[in-house]
Symmetry: C2
């Protein structure tokens, strides 16, 4: 669908790496955006080349781990010089899918759903929410941040209108599974689940869980633990 197999040649070294059959480990995928933001910052400071050792110093991750993570991305560095920063940013953004627009529907315009509709930052990272669904009469027919809110009954019809394969799930837990089922039945291929409910889907559907509440629980617990130790 969208996999870069690039030929990159620097200083006599050449690499043709095609890893389209390799499943990139999730921890690697989560670390790559760290490298990206760090490298962007160094570019702003006027740097042109960066080595994994330098990145390592900046963000306190083992240099060998960084080199290993970057081996999934189609870029090779020059010995003693490192990676060309412009090229690394370009390749990372492309690899992470941030340069392509992925259209999404949002389900459930409650407090969090409404907040996400207003977060225009998501579009800078490749996610464009094109429409939202809810059943509340006071919401249906209105829009938030320019994004129209339709009645949930219209979902199937709107799937034909928009070219969407991602669903953002921000409904109450009581209906999380039911809405997921209807999303998938309607043709959604990936669910970004913000509810604290563990939804079940068939194997070929991608689920990304982002429960802010689970993260809060971890933070509260660690905070209390530190308090105890004093």
């Amino acid at each position: 669908m969208h996999l870069v197999v690039s030929y990159y040649c620097t200083n006599g070294m050449s690499n043709l790496i095609s890893r389209e059959n390799t499943k990139v480990p999730e921890p690697t995928l989560r670390r790559l955006p760290w490298y990206l933001s760090n490298v962007k910052l160094l570019k702003q400071k006027g740097e042109q080349f960066i080595s994994s050792t330098q990145i390592s110093k900046e963000i306190n991750i083992d240099a060998s781990q960084i080199a290993k993570d970057l081996s999934y991305v189609n870029i090779s560095g020059r010995t003693r010089v490192g990676y060309e920063i412009d090229r690394l940013i370009e390749v990372l953004e492309d690899f992470l899918g941030f340069t392509k627009t992925h259209k999404a529907f949002l389900f459930g315009v409650g407090s969090l759903g409404g907040a996400l509709l207003q977060d225009s930052g998501l579009s800078h990272f490749g996610l464009q929410i094109v429409a939202a669904f809810d059943i509340k009469p006071e919401l249906v027919g209105t829009s938030i941040g320019g994004i129209p809110i339709y009645h949930s009954d219209e979902f199937t019809a709107r799937m034909k209108e928009y070219d969407v394969n991602i669903g953002v799930l921000t409904v109450p837990i009581q209906i999380a599974q039911q809405i997921t089922d209807s999303m998938v039945e309607g043709g959604i291929k990936a669910v970004w689940n913000f509810t604290p409910f563990r939804i079940r889907v068939s194997e070929h559907i991608v689920v990304q869980n982002t429960s802010l509440y689970a993260h809060l629980a971890v933070m509260f617990n660690r905070l209390n633990l530190n308090g105890e130790q004093k």
Copy 2:
């Protein structure tokens, strides 16, 4: 600070579990909210007792894993009957810190920061953002969702006014480290980092990273992989 050591006795079985010295593993802390939301749902359906086997069937996690996770929480189940639902909800919410109000400051009222200020749902899980900081003249002195926005220079003074130990970080990556440093210097004990930047703090400071962009990267990658396999 806030650790429950409860004595719970059912049906002749008794348990006095005091695990305040045990660090609960992060995966456990992330799974507990799943159990909580599931058990809440079963309560709404009229159930009074629940076993780990039943939870297991609902959310597709091994029953032994669930029992192990719940062993960190101060509750014991009855043989063949399971956990009393009301009690389990109460104990889990308390254990996860959702019943206590944790006050927080938010730093950086951009797109995501502004969205989080409008998400009243956080307060139902124990996080109350009491003030926000930014430097933009058009923001300073205004409020979003009833939460006042102060100039960043006022942070130290406001720390004395509010009883806050959590900082929500939603600033641009260029200043993520600098703002973190001043937060910690001002007395913040835990940083909820929404930026894609890996901040560095001293050992006794809690950092919870929630990078929506990292989660997007994982989702996009898996989605493309599924597309490839077809």
